[in-house]
Assembly symmetry: C2
Homo-oligomer: 374 residues x 2
């Protein structure tokens, strides 16, 4: 790794290939054992290069969070893509281009949007009924049988195929116990199955179940009650997932390497080149009650060494990161060194740093090609 | 403006040229009246096109927050650039390229970095002694006469010229009263002058004073006690600055236009295409005690109409924004409409959306060319 560290001059996302492959393999194996489709969400890495590692695990269907992301992966040869975001009417031309090119899945949670699509879509496409099973972000309320049946009714007989019912149980991110996450998974399956069963009773049968946030997919073993899982964050994980219990610190596969630019021994602080535009302003309130914008690690010859959490990122401005550093760690740092920040939310940091990702692989390393910029 | 709004399909930063020009002119006039150099910080807009509007106000010296931003503006013809960030040793090659090309100003707050520059810089450059007047991010403590003199001593007789003492009084962002901001400005001037006077007593005379955060530069009238001001956020302003009192709501010149993708009348919420990757995760705790990720406005034929703050952005995920919308406003919204978000921190949103800025100007509008990507 020494040549990786030596090559870095500015805040740079560094991805540990071995860890990413291990994180992918773990969920892929559980999906295979459960006999369900693994449709990973590619919003975290947004990279064709990392997509290739999923292909090696047999993955052929993916999830994207925007049409531009879907178009990027379609251009890379992915043929079955769900855009897990409510249809944006203003992008109907992009939807039609993509629907002509790949098996496109769209999310619908209103009669208006179902009608809009029926009138405006020019090629066959799949529709997933977006269901709110308790997160309260998007989706038809799981108990609202009428709304679900009305949407199915509008789609019926059109170019659009209602393929299944889908949810994102994002409230799993608020849990901090494996048992609570597993209970939430079970509740989500019950609610999603209820919607499917009510639709079947109304004459719309054969519908699939799709779910899959990273906490549930990391902590649940058996997915056989559903048809596909769509976790996204797990290839990299991050501080937030480690706090939930979805992963261990050693599973975190992406760090932001930041040059040390000044040391303030009097107040035990270190300033790095690495701020909100690199790490995002996302923070956790940690077990010490502090606003924490990231854990810290130091580069080693084979990867990195995570520091005890007495040292952490205490604040961020646009380009500056301020670290509070324990005396024992402070003496190890010099101006010009690299400090590695384990991001609070790797989806945000990876999105911010999509221009400059390094992927250590074996002895050498490469700049990651083709990361999307949209 | 109708053609601007109609052209937007995805989250897009929209800049009101008239407001930006007015915000620039206001501070430029105060600088002229005070007889000080106006060296605006270009980190917020990061745009050659907007830089041109500063040139029309007679500005010839600028501030950047990274070497890549400095290189971008140097390529656009700017000849006097201060990089208001502690020197990053790992970018010494870029520093040397720039120092050969323009009058480059560098920030130093340690003897180690002064020594590093003396040994490694290959062209003449200015150095500003970075002073901590109370913000406690970077800088030599203003009372630490010894450290200041030691740095001046290292630079003496080298290729580097100690040009002055500089501070960023970022703690002004924590104030919410004009009087408090003005008192903080006065305190900052006293502390910065103290450093200059002590250095003069040690034989380093003729040093300039440089300061300039947006709250102070907006609320103070007379800058004659200093030599230059460097505010950055004021061309756009934002919710945070309006909360401080630096500007009125009508001075906010940049909004993020976001398509409405779903309406939830049952809970008075609206979901827009526009999330943390567009707006940043920055929030304020507003006067109602709520986490507030942005105020809302609706497009009009001549610009936008700001909604009462009963309606606001209540949460953000990667691509989703969830709005809490008052009943009276809710009925005005339809799926497919645009909602405009007044960003909490425009520096962050502008950085995230640098690919797609629209600049309404007179009857027509143009995509902003040459926005930097690094």
């Amino acid at each position: 790794m020494k040549q990786v560290w030596d090559s870095i001059t500015r805040p740079t996302l560094v991805v540990d290939e071995g860890r990413v492959r291990r994180n992918i393999a773990r969920i892929a194996a559980k999906a295979r054992a459960s006999g369900v489709r693994f449709r990973p969400h590619f919003k975290t890495h947004q990279s064709a290069a990392i997509g290739a590692w999923f292909r090696e695990e047999g993955v052929t269907a993916i999830t994207a969070s925007s049409l531009s992301m879907a178009a990027y992966f379609a251009a890379d040869g992915w043929q079955d893509i769900t855009v897990a975001f409510p249809v944006n009417w203003r992008e109907i031309e992009t939807i039609n281009r993509l629907a002509a090119q790949v098996r496109l899945g769209l999310l619908v949670d209103s009669v208006e949007t179902a009608q809009f699509l029926v009138e405006r879509v020019t090629s066959p496409a799949d529709v997933w009924l977006d269901v709110d099973t308790g997160y309260h972000r998007t989706g038809v309320d799981w108990e609202d049988d009428e709304a679900a049946a009305a949407i199915a009714g509008v789609l019926h007989g059109s170019r659009l195929t209602l393929r299944g019912v889908l949810t994102h149980a994002g409230h799993s991110y608020k849990e901090h116990m494996a048992q609570a996450v597993r209970a939430l998974y079970d509740e989500t399956v019950v609610r999603l199955s209820y919607v499917r069963d009510r639709l079947a009773a109304a004459g719309y049968d054969g519908l699939e179940l799709s779910l899959g946030d990273t906490p549930c997919c990391s902590l649940v073993e058996d997915f056989s009650a559903v048809d596909e899982i769509r976790p996204g964050n797990f290839p990299y994980y991050d501080v937030m997932q480690a706090e939930i219990g979805s992963c261990g610190v050693d599973d975190i596969a992406a760090v932001v390497a930041c040059p040390v630019v000044s040391l303030y021994p009097g107040r035990g602080q270190v300033v790095i080149y690495g701020g909100g535009v690199h790490l995002s302003k996302e923070f956790i309130t940690d077990r010490h009650g502090r606003k924490n914008f990231g854990w810290l690690a130091l580069p080693t010859d084979s990867g990195w060494e995570v520091l005890p959490d007495r040292s952490y990122v205490t604040s961020l401005s646009q380009e500056h990161g301020v670290l509070q550093v324990d005396a024992a760690d402070f003496d190890r740092l010099r101006v010009g060194d690299l400090v590695l920040v384990l991001p609070v939310h790797s989806c945000m940091s990876a999105d911010l740093l999509k221009g400059g990702v390094l992927v250590p692989s074996g002895e050498g390393f490469a700049m990651m090609p083709g990361v999307i910029s949209g």
